[in-house]
Symmetry: C2
Subunit: 155 residues, 2 copies
């Protein structure tokens, strides 16, 4: 009986940082993945409480897929895992910033290094970044993985 008390206390203390997050009504916050070193903003996805906890515990980015309604371990199909170096929180406690090492150098489901590959120029979105690897090679052609890969990022 008495031996359980310290354990419970530790768990409560460990999860206090999660309660400081201002989750949206649907229990999510946006999370930005920024590449360590280059400082490039790679992508933005969503996290729920479980995803953020899993990211902190495991050291690899885990998001919440809104389209698939399940945890999405980044790289689970593509192998493009994000090793997390730091987790930051903004002043309003409603946005997470991850500093990551992007394995494979590809964060985007289009096969590009990052998701922000279009820049506004003279009233048009112009593609500025090349496809580094064919998405069909990453996710497989016509498989569920391909849909999942796209859906995961698209969500």
């Amino acid at each position: 009986m008495t031996s359980e008390a310290p354990k419970r206390k530790k768990t409560v203390m460990n999860e206090r940082w999660l309660r400081e997050i201002n989750w949206s009504q649907d229990g999510l916050v946006p999370a930005i993945a920024q590449e360590a070193g280059s400082g490039k903003v790679l992508m933005v996805a969503w996290m729920n409480r479980e995803a953020l906890k899993a990211t902190a515990d495991g050291g690899e980015a885990v998001y919440w897929s809104r389209s698939r309604k399940r945890l999405w371990r980044k790289g689970e199909e593509s192998g493009h895992v994000q090793k997390v170096r730091s987790i930051r929180l903004d002043c309003d406690e409603d946005v997470i910033l991850l500093e990551v090492e992007q394995l494979g150098g590809i964060a985007c489901h289009t096969g590009r290094g990052n998701c922000f590959f279009r820049r506004l120029e003279d009233g048009q979105w112009v593609v500025t970044d090349p496809v580094l690897k064919d998405p069909e090679q990453i996710y497989g052609a016509g498989t569920e993985d391909a849909d999942a890969g796209k859906g995961a990022k698209a969500e």
Copy 2:
């Protein structure tokens, strides 16, 4: 009569880029402001169609304040205007990335350089960045401006 046709056509063409955005149900997208040069992620706020158009047209960041339900010209009270160097769009067309020059070197309503001034360390959010200027000096003490400054960022 005939002289109006080209003008109308031009307007439609100019706004095509805005129609390519996947606005949320409430007509918003998150916008990340990243500092040119340093690559630091300064803050995240929201934009509606009008805010994004005003940002593109004017070259200074304009957001939509969800708390005040009006356009929020960043720096309108603090003077901490963001000069926009580029506007990027992600693969799902639902996140904007601004490359900005941050006037005054302060993006956050707390008087810090950026909003991501807390890092997760051993299960606690630890403040890593100093306050560069007292918010009361930025917004005025006990005035509507102070509330506005906080509300604007807090929204």
